[in-house]
């Protein structure tokens, strides 16, 4: 009934990083001193998408949601004083994973640590970037090749490294149901494994299979969520045996790290989030047979803005109390033989299998990106509709909304961390001086060689990437050399194919209003939903776009990652009546005024509404700058937002009295 010896706890991490490498290094040392046992690096969006800090698209984003790493000296500063032969480092990096791994290896090498000793993970799962996360850089085919290259390289050269971490986490954050989460993640794993199969010797393949790890999510229905992990473990083992002929049980075990659900964490009564986080942490630690290898938890202020060191400490303490105070680690699997748990797991296995078959019919995960994206948009619409109608209770948000003022938000900082916008200029200057101090000829030669190799799919790009890192190339230069060969890409948005909404009273009423105002305008109300900057948070924009369509408006939505200039040009060319902008990455203070300027320069005089993570002080500033309305996560009633927009249009164009 008890284990002979208490289990060792999972690796405890905090997803952290912001501003400069030096600042983040201080943060990491502080976290390690508090008992954190691994590193989890958050990079800023330019680094993740392969742009240098001085690129047009990097404006407002440098050092914001993660650390800016432009070249090997930045990586040296980031890891300063951290023993790389002992540390287990997780890097949330995808499109540019090969590059950041190369920088990491270069720093280790220059510090005298051999590759074989390095332990950690590069996330490196591009499919979920197309589906949810948005930090892709190249089209699907060459992206998959880069992944195969890193796997084939590390399995020999950096054997303790997890070259890919297939993510279901981000799928749930984009609205996936548990079966979708399992099915799309495993289908992605198949695409990755099939891609690497002919890039390694046959006898190495079982080891490759064993190096694939997962990054999963756990939502508030924590019993079912635990069953989900058991289901996933079973399917993974089956896949290994049946599709890939892997036999060694060591390689067949599902290894996963976790970040628990953040989508369900609320802006309303944010202190309640800590309780949600604890329960979700149980989902991934309760049963020993399906326990996480590594855990990182979000903070109570998730929906307000970036967490401060104290907020992250609180979340780390949850893990430590679970591991060290409770008796969780004393027992073998506590659900062994549980009829309920096994029944739940079986149900999920069946549903996931069916969905995997659909993906396979589409030609596998790469070909099915458009299909899967549409499914996620639809699932998310269902989820939001249930919350909006009160069918899914969210304490403090749609039920039990009476509350005392929260002392947690009373401080001068409003309870969040804000990154100094001056960091951007500093990084731009630092980059300029780096460029002037290096051997340009060596960099050019390395990049030319990289570009040539990229054109030949038979070559592994890792060694050439390492050469460019050593020579002193920058993140933007590495990605630029590859973009020149691979081209650019825009992922499908999933919105156009989302089925028309089932009509209900609220929608019918809204449609009537849209119809009336459109009639008075002479044209159907036309709205542009725009996502300026590098922000990949598309959920809000997608749901607004789909609902506006369902309400009867003509909606122009071009997806994520647009320059302010492009948004303004679209607004002019499409002749829209209203512009809606969505920013969650914290760059609104820089980007929204820029969009307003561009619109003005282009002669577009239409109301502009903004939604996203906008702290109250910034909201006031935006309204003063000319924004008509600001919405944040607390405005969960999308139909109400739509009504507002119709009234706004009616008012602005004198098209009938607002209802």
């Amino acid at each position: 009934m008890r284990l002979p010896e208490r289990d060792r706890p999972w690796v405890m991490r905090t997803y952290a990083g912001h501003s400069t490498a030096t600042k983040s290094n201080e943060l990491y040392r502080g976290n390690l001193a508090k008992g954190q046992t691994g590193l989890s690096i958050a990079f800023d969006l330019p680094t993740q998408t392969g742009y240098d800090p001085d690129h047009e698209l990097a404006r407002g984003e440098v050092g914001k949601v993660g650390v800016s790493i432009a070249h090997k000296a930045d990586m040296h500063a980031l890891l300063d004083g951290i023993p790389l032969d002992e540390m287990n480092t997780s890097m949330t990096i995808n499109a540019t994973a090969a590059w950041l791994l190369a920088l990491y290896m270069t720093v280790a090498e220059e510090n005298g640590v051999g590759r074989a000793a390095l332990q950690g993970t590069t996330q490196n799962d591009i499919i979920k970037e197309f589906l949810s996360r948005g930090t892709y850089a190249f089209p699907p085919e060459p992206s998959m090749r880069l992944i195969a290259d890193t796997i084939a390289f590390t399995v020999e050269e950096v054997p303790r490294w997890n070259p890919v971490n297939i993510c279901s986490y981000h799928l749930q954050e984009a609205g996936a149901t548990p079966p979708q989460e399992i099915a799309y993640a495993l289908s992605t794993a198949i695409a990755v494994l099939d891609g690497v199969r002919d890039r390694v010797p046959e006898e190495t393949f079982p080891r490759v299979f064993g190096r694939i790890s997962f990054f999963v999510n756990a939502g508030i229905r924590f019993v079912e969520e635990h069953a989900k992990l058991r289901a996933m473990g079973g399917l993974w083992e089956e896949l290994g045996r049946e599709r890939y002929g892997v036999e060694d049980p060591k390689f067949l075990r599902l290894r996963y790290g976790v970040q628990v659900n953040s989508l369900g964490l609320t802006e309303a009564q944010p202190e309640n989030n800590i309780i949600r986080i604890v329960l979700e942490a149980l989902a991934v630690t309760m049963g020993r047979d399906a326990r996480a290898r590594a855990v990182q938890l979000p903070a109570w202020n998730e929906a307000l803005g970036l967490p401060r060191p104290w907020d992250q400490q609180w979340s780390l303490r949850i893990q430590q109390i679970l591991a060290h105070e409770t008796d969780l680690l004393d027992y073998p699997d506590i659900f062994e033989g549980s009829v309920v748990m096994e029944g739940l797991a079986d149900e999920l296995v069946d549903a996931a299998r069916a969905e995997m078959a659909v993906v396979a019919e589409h030609g596998g995960a790469v070909a099915a990106v458009g299909y899967m994206k549409t499914q996620l948009v639809e699932s998310h619409r269902t989820r939001m509709g249930r919350i909006e109608r009160g069918e899914q209770k969210v304490i403090g948000q749609n039920v039990f909304t009476e509350h005392e003022p929260s002392p947690l938000q009373e401080g001068e900082d409003g309870g969040i961390l804000t990154v100094d916008p001056a960091v951007e200029q500093g990084q731009i200057e630092a980059l300029a001086s780096w460029r002037s101090s290096r051997d340009d000829a060596a960099v050019d030669a390395a990049l030319t060689a990289l570009g040539e190799a990229a054109a030949d799919p038979g070559v592994n790009l890792m060694p050439l990437t390492l050469a460019a890192a050593r020579a002193g190339a920058t993140t933007g230069e590495w990605a630029g050399a590859l973009r020149a060969v691979f081209g650019e890409y825009r992922a499908p948005t999933g919105v156009a194919d989302a089925a028309a909404a089932v009509s209900d009273y609220a929608l019918d009423e809204l449609r009537d209003r849209v119809e009336r105002v459109s009639e008075a305008l002479g044209r159907r109300i036309k709205i542009l939903v725009g996502k300026p900057g590098l922000d990949g948070h598309s959920n809000g924009a997608e749901q607004i776009a789909v609902r506006a369509r369902d309400a009867g408006m003509d909606v122009v939505y071009e997806g994520i990652r647009l320059t302010p200039a492009r948004i303004a040009a679209t607004a002019v060319q499409e002749g829209v009546h209203v512009v809606g902008l969505s920013i969650l990455s914290g760059s609104h203070a820089q980007l929204i005024p820029t969009v307003l300027d561009e619109l003005r320069d282009a002669g577009v005089d239409v109301p502009v509404v903004v939604g996203g993570i906008i702290p109250p002080a910034d909201e006031r500033a935006l309204l003063a700058a000319g924004v008509a309305r600001v919405y944040t996560p607390k405005d969960f009633q999308v139909s109400k937002i739509m009504g507002d927009i119709v009234d706004l249009v009616a008012e602005r164009y004198g098209a009938g009295t607002p209802a």
């Binding site: 825009r490 159907r524 122009v556 997806g559 002019v572």
Partner: protein, 319 residues
């Protein structure tokens, strides 16, 4: 008296591209006042006002969903812009056939420099049936043709429904992807009108594209259409076949009796508008379609569509 429509039309005629979005707004506007202004606008860009046919090359790009039309336009637009030609694209969105709202996302797939004032992309609602063009789209094409050097209409069509595009455009390119046997069957069975240029996309996929091109070539030859070019292109880097395609489009256009094609196009549009407004009974009142077509030949060749519709209405006694 100043007229918004006349003013916008005059600006388009003098190639003031900044007038285009407002002109399109007006053309789409269904309120009675706006209809009158739109008629004035169109009169300003009629052959009579222009002293000849509008100079633009009107190109239809049509084909099955996902064939690669928008990706191809990304490269074509760049090619045309590099050659110094201004381009307007009307992207017809099939989703808006449903009643009510629409989600217009096609423009996202057409790469372009947003700061380049020489490119315009406008999403526009589809007509009632697949491949059909709504009246505002046809009028938009006419208006833009006065100001831009190339005007493209992108529509979804599956091989037998492109008649509207043919009516409006000088040159129609049907775009198919490798492995799409439908088009081949339609051509062989004579269901599909032979296009002016046939494009096989995704040439980077190798053998499949080459095979599709050969099969289509053979099918066209067996029908006796020796002059229809079949061009294989790739829109992913490095692009292939683009210069060949541009010159195939050019070639078709320069071999064309343009005034005749445009004249026919105006007559077809007038008949279409008559039927759209007054139903088939109006046609019967004219003694049937053929008689109506004959009736139109009596009108001034430089008359614009609105004038032709007026003439037909008067003759049919509908108002």
């Amino acid at each position: 008296m100043t007229s918004e429509g006349r003013d916008l039309g005059a600006r388009l005629r003098s190639r003031d591209l900044a007038a285009a979005p407002a002109a399109l707004n007006l053309i789409e506007d269904r309120s009675p006042g706006a209809r009158d202004e739109a008629a004035r606008l169109l009169a300003e860009v009629s052959p009579a006002a222009l002293g000849g046919e509008a100079p633009a090359h009107l190109v239809g790009v049509t084909g099955p969903p996902g064939a690669g039309k928008s990706s191809l336009l990304s490269v074509l637009v760049k090619e045309w812009r590099d050659a110094g030609r201004t381009v307007a694209v009307l992207a017809v969105d099939p989703s808006s056939r449903r009643s009510g709202g629409s989600l217009l996302g096609d423009r996202a797939r057409i790469d372009h420099d947003p700061r380049d004032r020489g490119v315009l992309i406008r999403s526009t609602a589809a007509g009632g049936r697949l491949g059909g063009l709504a009246a505002p789209t046809r009028q938009a094409a006419q208006a833009l043709a006065a100001a831009y050097e190339v005007v493209v209409i992108e529509t979804v069509g599956v091989g037998q429904s492109e008649t509207d595009v043919e009516e409006v455009c000088d040159t129609v390119a049907v775009v198919v992807q490798p492995g799409s046997g439908d088009t081949l069957q339609f051509i062989k069975a004579g269901i599909m009108e032979v296009p002016d240029v046939l494009v096989v996309t995704k040439a980077d996929l190798g053998e499949a594209a080459a095979r599709a091109r050969r099969d289509l070539d053979a099918a066209l030859r067996s029908l006796g259409s020796h002059e229809v070019p079949v061009v294989a292109v790739s829109s992913v880097p490095p692009p292939q076949g683009i210069e060949e395609l541009v010159s195939a489009l050019e070639g078709h256009r320069s071999a064309l009796d343009l005034p005749l094609r445009r004249l026919r196009s105006r007559r077809m549009m007038a008949l279409g508008e008559l039927v759209a407004e007054h139903g088939d009974s109006a046609l019967r009142g004219l003694g049937g379609r053929r008689a109506a077509e004959r009736r139109l030949t009596r009108e001034d060749p430089a008359a614009d569509v609105a004038a032709l519709v007026r003439a037909l209405r008067a003759e049919a006694g509908v108002e």
